[in-house]
Amino acid sequence: MINTRPRGLDLLQRWEGNPALTVEDVPFRANTVFNGSPVVTEDGVYLLLRIEGQRGYSYFALARSQDGLHFTIDEKPVMLPANEGNFAIYEEKGIEDPRITVIDGVCYVMYTAVGGYGPRIALAKTHDYVNYERIALVSEPGNKDGILFPQKINGRYARLDRPIGLDRGSIWISYSPDLVNWGDSQVVITPRSGYWDEFRVGASVTPIETDQGWLEIYHGVKMTSAGPIYRIGVVLLDMEDPSQVIKRGDQPILSPREEYERIGDIGNVCFACGAVISDNGEMKIYYGAADTSICIAMCTLNQILKEGF
């Protein structure tokens, strides 16, 4: 099932069927499909997809799968940018990068609302993955990559996000009593000079609870003269105070190497958006490749905890 390439380049192993979804699999006219957040349902694995339409803005569609590998996309998009109400002006240029978090049985989607004033983080919820109810815009402008933790921390909801201050895109954490009002923001990790993640970092995958702390699979960017290179890395955060870093991997666990990761609307991008872990610890990590397709890479939780740091 997994790529038999000799180990050594990347900790994650690419699925041999990659890319898992391209625009050829979309049943309506679109430009690209990338960045999909998975959720395990009674009916198999669903992926909430970011699709960039031909007009140039992004929206969400749903893909369904029995095995978590082979997906079929619903006939119509499930969530389009708001065209009325207080969300409309902040979603004029689309909605991007959904991340699903299930808390106490409720499915929340944190996503980036893109409007004329810059990106903001927005929150919605769904009971059937087809209809979405917007809850609130939860950040100031200039913030993206928001992801809810799957449980309250010391009685408060918590999220990771990616504001930009002094041109540095770092991962922060913020807390809320009610999912609407947020505060107590603190920095978690910042870009590291001289490393593969020296330009920007952002949260990618809903934090995963492990016996060593919260595992966060994040994206790190290095800027080159030919443009950015997006890679996937890992960091472990304290369970009780996730602003405290327990350890952070020196190396990425997946880097663009295959043609489908190198060539596309934005070349040289591996951008994780979610992971599914089976009971035996096997992980499937879903990632957007070159902003043009969705791919899957595999690993076990143990391998990441042992070899990723």
């Binding site: 050829e24 430009n31 031909q54 803005y57 240029k93 950015p228 070349g267 902003d291």
Partner: protein, 319 residues
């Protein structure tokens, strides 16, 4: 590569309104009898029952010149090694063409073939105009724009008695129209269409193929650019302008008609580019559009007028 009417165009991607020719790229540098750095953008014209291409060649020195390509007996395009138009050495023109001449767009007007091209010199880009009757000799008529204007294309007929051109001034990155009584002195410039925030053509646009007269007005195939963190993506769109008042837009495609997807459109000296500079109607009535891909080769695609017009008028509901 051969391109004749027997050639097949394939719908490789459901997403695109223009279908690619299955033999693309039509011409790349391996097809040439001389060395060069890259080849891009083909002005296109019907002349004596054949489709001639005026191609931009970037030489190894870095300068561009314009070369004629025509089909041989087997239908393969052969590019002439001697330039059709090369940077002028005449003192009058020299300083404005010292970096090269490129992106020829050909218009047949009142019995003469006019070639509008980008002259790149010490002070930026200007539009140059030249004419030919036989595609053997060519005569420069002069520079017709201020600096930093490019992507000029002459209308194939007078509008309200005056010559007219579309162009892309540097400031504002929009398509403008300018008029002339004599092809030498130009004025009455007005804006036609601009980049659209949040769209695939959000950052820069410019005329691709010279305007084509259709029942509904002037059909203009244009290029639209969206800037990304990894550089620009250049796609192809269409707009219909009013016949008498071309600043009145009758319809503009909300979505591109062709986007870079194939490797030859994704990988090259400038990646993710499909750049139209000419279009001719085929014997079956379809529109064949010639475009440069990734600034490294020449390609051709086709669509019906009906599809393109429908896309200009009725694409409001696309998401």
């Amino acid at each position: 590569m051969a391109v004749t009417m027997r050639s097949r165009f394939v719908k490789r991607h459901n997403q695109d309104i223009v279908y690619r020719w299955e033999g693309n790229p039509l011409i790349n540098i391996y097809d040439l009898s001389f060395k060069c750095s890259n080849i891009h953008n083909a002005g296109t014209v019907f002349f004596k029952d054949e489709i001639l291409l005026l191609i931009t060649i970037e030489h190894l020195s870095g300068q561009c010149s314009i070369h004629l390509a025509r089909q041989d007996a087997n239908g393969y395009y052969q590019v002439e090694p001697n330039p059709f138009l090369s940077p002028s050495t005449e003192s009058k023109y020299k300083q404005h063409e010292s970096h090269g001449v490129s992106d020829a767009r050909v218009t047949f007007l009142e019995g003469m073939f006019y070639i509008m091209y980008n002259a790149f010199g010490d002070h930026g880009y200007r539009l140059g105009l030249a004419k030919t009757g036989d595609f053997q000799s060519v005569e420069r008529m002069g520079f017709i724009s201020e600096p930093d204007t490019k992507a000029g294309a002459l209308f194939p007929a007078r509008i309200k008695g005056r010559y007219a051109r579309l162009e892309r001034p540097g400031h504002g990155s929009s398509i403008w129209i300018t008029y002339s009584d004599d092809l030498v002195y130009w004025g009455s410039s007005e804006i036609v269409i601009s980049p659209r925030d949040g769209f695939w053509d959000a950052n820069r646009i410019g005329t691709g193929a010279p305007p084509i007269e259709i029942d509904e007005g002037w059909l203009v195939i244009y290029y639209g650019i969206k800037d990304t963190s990894a550089g620009p993506i250049c796609r192809m769109g269409a707009v219909i302008l009013d016949k008498q008042e071309p600043t009145n837009v009758i319809g503009r495609s909300n979505i591109p008609i062709l986007s870079p997807r194939e490797n030859y459109e994704r990988i090259g000296d400038l990646s993710n580019i499909v750049f139209p500079t000419g279009a001719v109607t085929g014997s079956n009535g379809d529109l064949n559009i010639f475009y440069g891909a990734s600034n490294s080769c020449i390609c051709v695609g086709t669509s019906t007028f009906e599809q393109i017009i429908k896309n200009c008028i009725e694409s409001q509901e696309e998401y």
